[in-house]
């Protein structure tokens, strides 16, 4: 097809030609003919020579899974497998601009590709939000050398999946703080079972019933009374981090939702629990409207495990979560408990925007099988009010809603207390710190030990 430039040239030619007819002047006629023909003469040749199928385009990434604050190097390779050259090709590699920013390089190129030639260009992207994204499509616009004719096409199957994990900065801070303020607590808060195991714990005075083989003769000689060696064993917990991913968790500014902060808290808790040699698992509570007959009743579970790979398993498991669907906390908890075979420390991150009765059933279900439940509850107004300017009426409404929510949380806390469950109401500033505190507290108390 004639491109904009070609059309412009034809129009100019027609104008000159018409002037030639008006003036009865062959100079203008000949010039007009030159101009018109120069723009259309290459049309058939262009269509004959150009086979976009001969351009093989490939996108490669240095990694398909990346942390939110990391960078990705994307290389696009275009190879002309045909025998004809492409005089001018514009190649644009599209990416979701709302979620990524191109920090170095350019995601497009304008060039000429000779037969059998390969052209490569690359750029570096920085993800701005966690989730599952697709890079692409790649668009190609082939033009003739004078840009009179062009053929634009979107290449099929040029999408690449990319999973963006939550920011690593929280984990980095955790690492940085280890050995400083938090480090002091690490040692103190190890849950140990004294009397069994092989780790030396202390020397104490002999008591009736102690095995003779445990007597420490050196200490006995030194102190003049029977002393025995005491051994201890560190006990581990099954920590299950549960995320409520219902629609209410996604309210607020894009990077400031309760869900985003809850996910960040879960990642930090995973790392912390793994460092404490606990078994860590995760679960997502979500009713997908597209799957009304879900046999799992909206509960997706990642079994508790130990090891270096667990952090990445949790990251994979949780990174692509988006908030959706209604909330049914009691049903979810029931379904979850039925699938757990051992005692767990369940840390639930939910805004608890459900009825008190529903919460009561949930607490009952959680406690009946001896699980320990800690609820970290992001308090909605702290998240949703952020960055918003209110009119007087809106302010009054927001205040009324906040008061109502506050009453709801206070009531939920009072109900939970009767089950021995703690609900911690948190804001964006302290959600991670409070989650760490609650975990360490539970660890210290030796809750839900295996």
């Amino acid at each position: 097809m004639l491109a904009k430039r070609g059309t412009l040239l034809v129009m100019t030619g027609v104008f000159i030609l018409t002037a030639g007819f008006s003036f009865q002047n062959y100079f203008f006629i000949i010039l007009g003919l030159f101009v018109i023909f120069s723009s259309v003469i290459s049309l058939p040749l262009f269509d004959l020579n150009i086979n976009v199928e001969n351009l093989r385009v490939r996108r490669s990434l240095d990694k398909n899974k990346v942390f939110q604050d990391d960078f990705i190097h994307i290389v696009v390779e275009i190879k002309n497998v045909g025998r004809k050259r492409f005089d001018f090709v514009d190649i644009v590699d599209n990416f979701p601009e709302d979620y990524f920013s191109c920090v170095i390089g350019e995601p497009y190129i304008s060039t000429r590709i000779d037969p059998k030639q390969t052209v490569r260009f690359s750029y570096i992207l920085k993800p701005m939000i966690r989730g599952e994204f697709f890079l692409g499509p790649i668009e190609i616009n082939v033009k003739d050398r004078l840009e009179f004719n062009n053929e634009a096409r979107e290449l099929p199957d040029t999408y690449t999946q990319l999973i963006i994990y939550p920011p690593y900065s929280d984990l980095r801070k955790l690492d940085a703080l280890r050995g400083r303020s938090l480090g002091k607590m690490f040692g103190v808060h190890r849950s140990v079972q004294v009397g069994t195991g092989t780790d030396f714990h202390a020397i104490r005075e002999y008591q009736f019933g102690d095995e003779f083989r445990k007597i420490n003769w050196k200490a006995t000689a030194r102190l003049g009374k029977f002393m025995v060696k005491e051994y201890s064993q560190e006990k581990n917990m099954n920590v299950l981090l549960v995320l409520d991913a219902s629609s209410t968790m996604g309210a607020g500014a894009l990077l400031n939702t309760k869900l985003e902060y809850s996910i960040r808290a879960i990642i930090v808790l995973t790392k912390l629990a793994l460092d404490h040699r606990d078994l860590v698992g995760a679960a997502i509570f979500q009713n997908n409207p597209k799957r009304p007959d879900d046999p799992q009743k909206g509960v997706t579970l990642l079994d508790t495990k130990r090891g270096n790979q667990v952090l990445f398993n949790v990251l994979d498991f949780i990174a692509t979560t988006r908030s959706m669907g209604p909330k049914s906390l009691s049903i979810w908890m029931d379904a979850l408990i039925k699938r757990l075979r051992k005692r767990h420390l369940i840390i639930l991150l939910s805004d608890l925007e459900s009825t008190i009765e529903d919460l009561r059933i949930m607490f009952t279900k959680a406690r009946t099988r001896g699980h320990e439940l800690i609820v970290i509850s992001p308090f909605s107004p702290w998240f949703e009010v952020f960055g918003k300017e209110f009119s007087a009426a809106e302010r009054a409404i927001a205040e009324a809603i906040s008061e109502e929510m506050m009453q709801h949380i206070l009531e939920a806390q009072s109900v939970a207390r009767s089950y021995g469950i703690s609900i911690v109401s948190v804001g964006p500033d302290d959600i991670i710190a409070r989650a760490i505190q609650e975990y360490l507290k539970a660890k210290h108390k030796g809750k839900a030990q295996i």
Partner: protein
């Protein structure tokens, strides 16, 4: 080195442009290049202002005098001597001339509006004088258009050289042929008027009346038209195309076609256009790669520079305040915690949204500091990522700058010369045949009697060959595209069928495997028992 060819093409274009420029200047009569027109225009504007001012002062003075006269006891004195006094005074101040250079003076307000005298000695009124000056401006502006057109051509050519945008070369070409248009168009309209105005007399009066005067009289009234023509010819200088080869009304059907000045000029102008198109192409193909390389290298260098500055600053801070400065001090942390707790307490004890607002304001204050910290952290991390990337992937710098995407000089030169040569030859032949339709008629066996008809002797006869030929190219392109699309669809269908077949085979294999498995399962108890 890679841009040498581009420079050569630019130089050739510049030489060709200069030759064409000389050709245009020589083709028109010398009065086309009258730079004094600008001063005539300025003089006419000055005259209009003078006439206006004269009329305004005289009019307002006389009007004021008249008003004063009615209220005065000395009205007889004013009546007899006020007006002559005003004009005597004004004639002393103003030195006005008409179009013929005669000194213009008035003695009464009546003379100012209507003029005075008869025949060739008549002094026109101010209105007529202003009209005359407007005509002068129009005529001189018309004269100036030739120079402006040439200036525009030069300006657009320079713009093209700088920006390599084909748009400017098109403007340049139009500006180069502009003087021919300007020389011919007014007289074409005059000729059209001569043809049309007398023929529509009678109805034109009615049209004029019906339109309530919105159609100018000159367009409908033969007398007014001839008056307008006289005025037009008086004030608008006629510029002639002196080179007769530009006024071709018959096209030579033999080889003299190739030597005719007008044809050669048109061909050279097209050649210049083609050269600029090719130059633009080379620029478009090579420039992005060069600019990208420059930009990227600059970015990487800047990144390294900023990153080292940030690291240095951080080291200095550590040295000055100790490692603790990197983290919030325990005291500050405790203070913050206390503040937060008190806010939460306030909230839960009924202060409501105010507590949230306070907390958010506090966050806002910290936001700027956090943002700056984030930027510096991002810069450092990006720099270390780049370093790592360049270590791991040796080709990364090359792909980022797309240095390998620049076409080879050799290929570029050969393809440009071949492409341009073929296009020029083909176009020249095509234009020759289209401009001489008789040759094509003979070739296609059109009856001689039809060939000899008056219609086919006119330049418009070109349309009979140009329209089908111009449409032929897109049609051919359309045909080729359809054939290619059909082939592509066939290939896709074949692939689809193949994949369906493969899927069926794999399904059958699965069923077979399942059946085998079931058979084995049923056989096991038998064999074990």
């Amino acid at each position: 080195m890679r841009r040498v060819f581009l420079r050569i093409l630019q130089i050739i274009s510049a030489v060709l442009f200069m030759a064409l420029l000389v050709g245009v200047v020589k083709a028109l009569s010398p009065n086309a290049w009258n730079i004094l027109s600008l001063f005539y225009i300025l003089g006419a504007i000055k005259n209009i202002l003078s006439y206006g001012l004269y009329a305004l002062i005289s009019g307002s003075s006389v009007a004021a005098g008249q008003i004063f006269r009615f209220r005065s006891e000395y009205r007889y004195l004013f009546e007899s001597s006020l007006e002559p006094l005003i004009f005597q005074y004004l004639n002393m101040i103003f030195h006005m001339t008409d179009n013929q250079g005669r000194l213009v003076t008035y003695n009464s307000i009546q003379q100012v509006w209507d003029g005075y005298g008869f025949g060739p000695d008549r002094i026109p009124g101010i209105g007529e004088l202003i009209g005359g000056q407007l005509f002068t401006i129009f005529g001189q502006f018309y004269s100036l258009l030739f120079i402006l057109s040439i200036i525009s051509a030069v300006f657009n050519f320079l713009l093209f050289i700088g920006r390599l945008d084909i748009k400017y070369s098109l403007y340049m070409a139009l500006s180069l042929i502009g003087p021919f248009f300007i020389a011919l168009i007014p007289w074409l309209f005059i000729e059209m008027g001569d043809l049309l105005v007398p023929s529509i007399i009678g109805t034109t009066y009615i049209i004029g009346e019906l339109s309530g005067g919105s159609i100018p009289n000159a367009m409908v009234d033969p007398a007014a038209w001839s008056n307008f023509k006289i005025q037009f010819e008086t004030y608008v200088p006629r510029v002639y195309i002196v080179d007769q080869s530009f006024l071709l009304t018959d096209i030579p059907a033999d080889f003299t076609f190739f030597t005719n000045g007008g044809v050669v000029f048109a061909f050279m102008l097209y050649l210049l256009l083609e050269l600029t198109f090719q130059t633009s192409y080379i620029g478009r193909v090579t420039q992005p790669s060069i600019e990208r390389t420059k930009r990227l290298e600059g970015q990487i260098a800047l990144l390294g520079e900023y990153s080292s500055v940030i690291e240095r600053e951080q080291e200095e801070t550590i040295r000055a305040k100790g490692v603790k400065s990197l983290f919030v001090s325990e005291g500050a942390r405790e203070k913050e915690e206390k503040q937060r707790k008190s806010l939460i307490k306030e909230f839960f004890t009924g202060t409501g949204l105010t507590a949230i607002k306070e907390m958010l304001e506090q966050r806002e204050r910290e936001k700027e500091r956090e943002r700056l910290e984030e930027i510096s952290s991002d810069t450092r991390r990006l720099n270390s990522y780049m370093k790592r990337l360049f270590e791991i992937d040796k080709d990364a710098k090359r792909t980022l700058t797309a240095a390998g995407s620049m076409p080879s000089q050799k290929n570029l030169v050969s393809s440009t010369i071949i492409n341009m040569g073929l296009r020029v030859i083909l176009l020249f032949v095509l234009v020759f045949f289209v401009a001489n339709p008789i040759l094509l008629y003979t070739a296609f066996g059109v009856e001689p009697i039809i060939q000899a008809s008056v219609g086919f002797q006119n330049p418009e006869a070109v349309v009979t060959t140009v329209v089908p030929l111009i449409l032929l190219f897109p049609f051919l392109a359309f045909l080729i595209r359809q054939i290619k699309r059909y082939r592509l669809t066939q290939i896709m269908l074949k692939r689809e069928r193949e994949s369906e077949l493969l899927q069926k085979i794999s399904e059958l294999q699965e069923i077979e495997e399942m059946e085998t498995y079931k058979e084995e399962q049923t056989e096991i108890p038998v064999s074990t028992s």
